[in-house]
Symmetry: C2
Subunit: 216 residues, 2 copies
DNA sequence: TAGATTGTTAATCGATTAACAATC
DNA sequence: TAGATTGTTAATCGATTAACAATC
């Protein structure tokens, strides 16, 4: 049973990230015949598959309810469904992508989105040659129309894949349109807005986190 | 003066990530005329520009030396160069990309790499139609030849942009070739190797970190 | 009953931040 | 000297992990 009225601010953000990892691990397991025959799974087995400490696994899951049985383990199917609901993946989410460059194209074509219930409703750019064309099955729209279409399409998540110097302006427009969350691929610290959640994916930071340790 | 023999394992990984942020912030500043005229910058100013607590800024920098002067601040140019050296960005790094799909293409075309001293020496794929073609100015090679070319080109960093089920195999081959660090875009927990550093960039985790909070 | 495993408490570990002496 | 600001210590905060009673 999922605990009701669980205060999200009390749950560490890293716990949510690990929940995604457990979810993927269970999904993979259920794709195998071995996994489908499994009734239950122990925190120790999840630990082996994810390289996350088993106490951590139990603690993370316990934030949301008592999913397991002592002496037995966690029922695989039920746990899988419970995590899906916790992460909100039982719902459909409407997304737009700003920027029809290489990255925007790669994201628009990314098969993982649809599978998880993310619907990319449109891509936006300011280059006239790109506007009106299709990327995969998604149409490229004029960035001028973004704010209006965010409202019309009831967009919850905006993905920023524009150059760094345009990112803040795009973010402002997304928020003005009513977007509640932003996934930002531009290498800038966006000025944030109260109540709007921003996640940054930053290639430079990741690469420099490698070169620092390579450097002797 | 940079402290010699600083034990890297004693410095939090998050500090290195923030160092990247400070570095970018200083770079941006030095691109403006206002910034170029600045002799020094205070931890408080850096804090304003990066939204990172000023005590945190001072503590992070103090791991590597005494860059500032009390009552004055940090000399902008010198600090910028010092961080560049700490992150190893004064050196050239040889990179290969495995996977010539949309993501691999986007990465190969990413301008930020060259600017920071990262040289993409080749892209690898197993599809015959792709092998021998150019992406940007980079040639696509047969994945069979990857291990050999890693040695020949003295590759330090391997980027994995192949589907999830192929990722572990590619990682094994990269490590066998002598790659020391891996940037993994495939949504799997790679089995790690002693002494090899792996950084994961995982779109699902980022998106689910948004839907969790959107979910009511 | 004996063995397995959860859920949770308490201990530990590590990172952030407040406070302040040093000093420009 | 007075004000500004660093570098660092000590306090705080928060996350991880060890330990174990509960229980299947």
């Amino acid at each position: 049973m999922i605990k009701r009225k669980q205060d999200k601010s009390k749950i560490p953000a890293v716990t949510i990230n690990r929940l995604s990892i457990y979810f993927r691990c269970l999904n993979r397991l259920l794709e195998t015949s071995e996994g489908r025959n499994l009734k239950t799974i122990s925190s120790h087995k999840i630990s082996q598959l994810t390289a996350i400490n088993s106490t951590q696994v139990r603690k993370d899951l316990a934030y949301f309810g008592e999913f397991g049985k002592r002496g037995i383990g966690y029922p695989v199917n039920h746990l899988n469904e419970a995590i899906r609901k916790i992460l909100g993946l039982d719902k459909k989410w409407n997304i737009i992508i700003a920027g029809a460059g290489n990255l925007g194209k790669a994201l628009a074509d990314y098969k993982g989105f649809k599978k998880k219930g993310f619907l990319i409703k449109g891509i936006f750019d300011n280059e006239p040659e790109k506007i009106g064309k299709n990327i995969g099955h998604i149409l490229v729209y004029n960035i001028e129309d973004m704010q209006e279409l965010i409202i019309k399409w009831n967009i919850q998540i905006g993905v920023i894949a524009v150059p760094a110097d345009a990112a803040q302006n795009i973010a402002n427009k997304m928020v003005a349109g009513g977007v509640q969350s932003i996934l930002n691929f531009a290498p800038v610290s966006l000025v944030t807005f109260p109540g709007i959640r921003i996640k940054n994916v930053d290639l430079s930071i990741e690469l420099e986190g490698l070169t620092y340790y390579l450097n002797t």
